[in-house]
C-alpha cells in the first residue's frame, strides 16, 4: 500500500495478524467485507471503505450491458429495522466498470456478476483481465430481477453450467452467492460445489413487499424487493449453519450483520468471513472498524489468536 493512503488511516487499520482470515484461496486482512450493491460503484469509495476497515469490497453486481435499474422508490425502510430494496441491479456494465478499476492497487476487490447464461459470465470475466481483483462473486440470488439472480440460482443445472464455464476461463477464485428462492438453496450449493466453486456467500436479500396504507399501494416501483438487515439475520445464520453442517466449503456469511456479536455468531456457525451492507444505513461506515475492534476484544478475552480457530465452533457443542 502506498504511503499517502497509510497516512490517512486510523491507527487500528494497520494489519492485525489476529484478524487475518482465509476463505479458501482468498486471503483477507480482516474478516468483514462490504456486501455487493452497497456504495459499490466507484474506486474512490472502495478506497475509502478499505481504509475504514473493510477486509474487501464486493462491487455492485455487473451485467454485460449497463442497466439503469428500476425507477425510484427503490429503497424502503422497514419499521423496526432493515430495508427492502429493488434497485434492479442498476450498474454501469462490466466493461465501464473494469476500466474504472484498472488503476486499483490496494483494495481487495471482489467483482460481483449477474447474467443468464454461461456466455454472459465468461465474456464479463474477460473484461477484467487487466484489473487487480481478489475474486469474482456470481450473484445467483437477486430476488427481484427477472431472468438473472434467483431465476438462475433456482436452477441447479444452469448453475453447474455457468460455474463450470467460468472455472475454465479464469484462475481467479470464484464465489457463488446463494439465497432463498423457490427451490432448496442447498441444491444450488451442492451444484456449485460439484462444479468446483471456491466459496459460497450466503445469503442475498429475501423477497418481500411493503404497502402504504394511506395510498393503498406497494411503495417500491417494482412492487417486490429484497429484505435485508437485522430482520434476516436469524435466517441467514441458519443458512450458514446448514451449509457448513452439510458441506466442506469455505463460507462467507451475509445478512443482517451490524455488531461484532453478529459477526462472531456467523463465524461460530461456520463462515470464515462475513459481508454487510444494511448496517451502513444505520451505523455508517464506522461499522467496519467497530466490528473489527469487537472481534479482536472477544478473541483476546477468549484466548484465540486466529479467526480460523473460531470457525464453526457452534457446531461442536
Amino acid at each position: 500500500m502506498n504511503q499517502l493512503l497509510y497516512s490517512k488511516l486510523p491507527i487500528f487499520f494497520k494489519v492485525n495478524p489476529s484478524l487475518i482470515t482465509s476463505v479458501g484461496k482468498i486471503c483477507l486482512d480482516r474478516p468483514v467485507m462490504l456486501a455487493s450493491g452497497i456504495l459499490g460503484i466507484s474506486l474512490d469509495v472502495f478506497n475509502r471503505l478499505y481504509r475504514s476497515g473493510a477486509g474487501a469490497v464486493v462491487t455492485k453486481s455487473l451485467s454485460t450491458e449497463p442497466w439503469d435499474g428500476y425507477p425510484n422508490p427503490t429503497i424502503f425502510s422497514v419499521d423496526g429495522g432493515g430495508w427492502i430494496n429493488a434497485v434492479g441491479l442498476s450498474n454501469p456494465g462490466a466493461q465501464n466498470f473494469a476500466k474504472m478499476i484498472e488503476s486499483n492497487v490496494d483494495v481487495p476487490i471482489i467483482v460481483s456478476l449477474v447474467g443468464s447464461i454461461p456466455e454472459d459470465f465468461e465474456s464479463m470475466i474477460m473484461q477484467f483481465k487487466n484489473c487487480k481483483i481478489t475474486a469474482f462473486e456470481l450473484n445467483l440470488s437477486c430476488p427481484h430481477v427477472a431472468k438473472v439472480g434467483l431465476e438462475v440460482g433456482d436452477d441447479p443445472e444452469l448453475v453447474k453450467k455457468i460455474i463450470s464455464a467460468v472455472k475454465t476461463s479464469t484462475n481467479i477464485p470464484i464465489i457463488a452467492k446463494v439465497g432463498l428462492g423457490t427451490s432448496n438453496y442447498l441444491n444450488t450449493v451442492n451444484a456449485a460445489i460439484d462444479s468446483g466453486i471456491d466459496a459460497i456467500t450466503a445469503i442475498n436479500t429475501v423477497r418481500a413487499i411493503a404497502i402504504d396504507v394511506e395510498t393503498q399501494r406497494p411503495i417500491l416501483s417494482n412492487k417486490f424487493g429484497g429484505l435485508s438487515g437485522t430482520p434476516i439475520k436469524p435466517i441467514a445464520l441458519r443458512c450458514v449453519y446448514e451449509i457448513s453442517s452439510k458441506y466442506d466449503i469455505p463460507i462467507i456469511g451475509c445478512g443482517g450483520i451490524s455488531t461484532w456479536e453478529d459477526a462472531v455468531e456467523f463465524i461460530l456457525a461456520g463462515s470464515s468471513a462475513v459481508q454487510l451492507g444494511s448496517a451502513i444505513g444505520s451505523n455508517w461506515i464506522h461499522v467496519f472498524n467497530d466490528i473489527n475492534h469487537g472481534i479482536l476484544e472477544y478473541m483476546k478475552r477468549k484466548g484465540y489468536s486466529k479467526i480460523d480457530e473460531m470457525v464453526g465452533l457452534a457446531k461442536k457443542s
Partner: protein
C-alpha cells in the same frame, strides 16, 4: 410509536404556486420538514410514479413546508404536476447543513438551488451584511427575489439578479458578478447552490482568495441514507457526507464540476 424518519410520511399538497412557467412551489403541512436545516433535503415520493430528492423550501406558516420544483425529467415533472389535495410521501430530513458564519455573507443561488439559500436566509443574524446573487437565463426564470428581500428586511443587504440575456438585472453569467464581488469585498462566508458549473466557479474564485466557501451539491439519489452509492462524487457520498461541502474539500475532489454519474452509475461530463 416514534416516527421513523426513513419512512415516507404521507402529506397532502395544500397549495400550489407557479413561480415561473417551469417552476412550482407545493405547500404541505409537516412539523419535521418545517424545521429542517439549510442544506438538508427530503426524498419525495409521488405515489405510483417516482421518488426524488428535494431541498425543503421554507414556509412562513408554522408547521408547514414546501418543495419548489422545476419540471425536467419524469420524476420532477411528476411532482410538478401534483395537484392540490393529492398525496405525496416525504421522508427525511437527510444530509448535513451549512456552517453559518457571521459578518459579511455572500449567497449565490441559481434556479431551484435558491431553495436552500432561502432557508439559509432565515438563519442569518440581524447584524449580518448579506449579499444574495440570483442567476437566471432570462427574466421569466427569476423567482424568490421578493421573498429574499422580505426575509432580509432587517439586514443590511443587497439582492442582485443576473440574467444571461440581460432581460432583467445585470446582464451576463452570474460568475462574472461573483468575481467582481469577491474582488471588492472581504466576505466572511460564501454559500452556493445551483448548477454545478456555477458552484464550481464560485468555489474556485472564493478558494483562490482563501475565503470560506461552501456548496450544496446534487447527484442522482436513490436511498438518501448512504447505502446505494448512486450519489457518490469521488470518495464522497452526497447524501451522507453532504449535501454541503467545504470549498477546500471540493477543490481536491476530481469529479466536482467535471463529472456526474447517470442512473447506471456511468460517469458523464457536465
Amino acid at each position: 410509536m416514534q416516527r421513523n424518519h426513513n419512512h415516507p410520511k404521507i402529506c397532502i399538497v395544500e397549495k400550489v404556486i407557479d413561480e415561473t412557467p417551469t417552476v412550482r412551489t407545493l405547500i404541505f403541512s409537516d412539523d419535521v420538514m418545517h424545521n429542517v436545516l439549510p442544506g438538508q433535503f427530503a426524498m419525495v415520493w409521488i405515489p405510483g410514479l417516482n421518488e426524488l430528492p428535494m431541498s425543503v423550501m421554507v414556509s412562513k406558516e408554522s408547521g408547514k413546508a414546501a418543495f419548489t420544483v422545476r419540471k425536467h425529467g419524469l420524476a420532477s415533472t411528476g411532482l410538478y404536476n401534483v395537484q392540490v389535495g393529492q398525496q405525496i410521501g416525504v421522508r427525511g430530513p437527510y444530509g448535513n447543513s451549512f456552517d453559518l458564519k457571521q459578518g459579511k455573507l455572500l449567497l449565490v443561488g441559481g434556479g431551484t438551488g435558491l431553495v436552500p439559500m432561502m432557508r439559509l436566509l432565515t438563519f442569518v443574524k440581524p447584524t449580518d451584511d448579506v449579499t444574495l446573487v440570483i442567476g437566471a437565463k432570462s427574466k421569466n426564470e427569476v423567482f424568490f427575489e421578493e421573498l429574499a428581500n422580505d426575509l432580509l428586511k432587517n439586514n443590511v443587504h443587497r439582492v442582485i439578479i443576473t440574467t444571461d440575456d440581460g432581460s432583467y438585472g445585470e446582464k451576463g453569467f452570474v460568475t462574472n458578478t461573483i468575481e467582481k464581488l469577491v474582488n471588492e469585498n472581504r466576505f466572511d462566508g460564501i454559500y452556493t447552490c445551483g448548477p454545478e458549473i456555477m458552484m464550481y466557479k464560485t468555489v474556485q474564485l472564493a478558494h483562490s482568495k482563501g475565503l470560506f466557501v461552501q456548496a450544496s451539491l446534487e447527484r442522482t439519489m436513490k436511498c438518501g441514507v448512504g447505502i446505494c452509492g448512486s450519489c457518490c462524487i469521488g470518495e464522497d457520498l452526497v447524501c451522507k457526507d453532504g449535501t454541503v461541502f467545504d470549498g477546500d474539500h471540493l477543490m481536491s475532489n476530481h469529479e466536482f464540476g467535471s463529472f456526474h454519474r447517470n442512473k447506471a452509475g456511468i460517469l458523464e461530463n457536465y
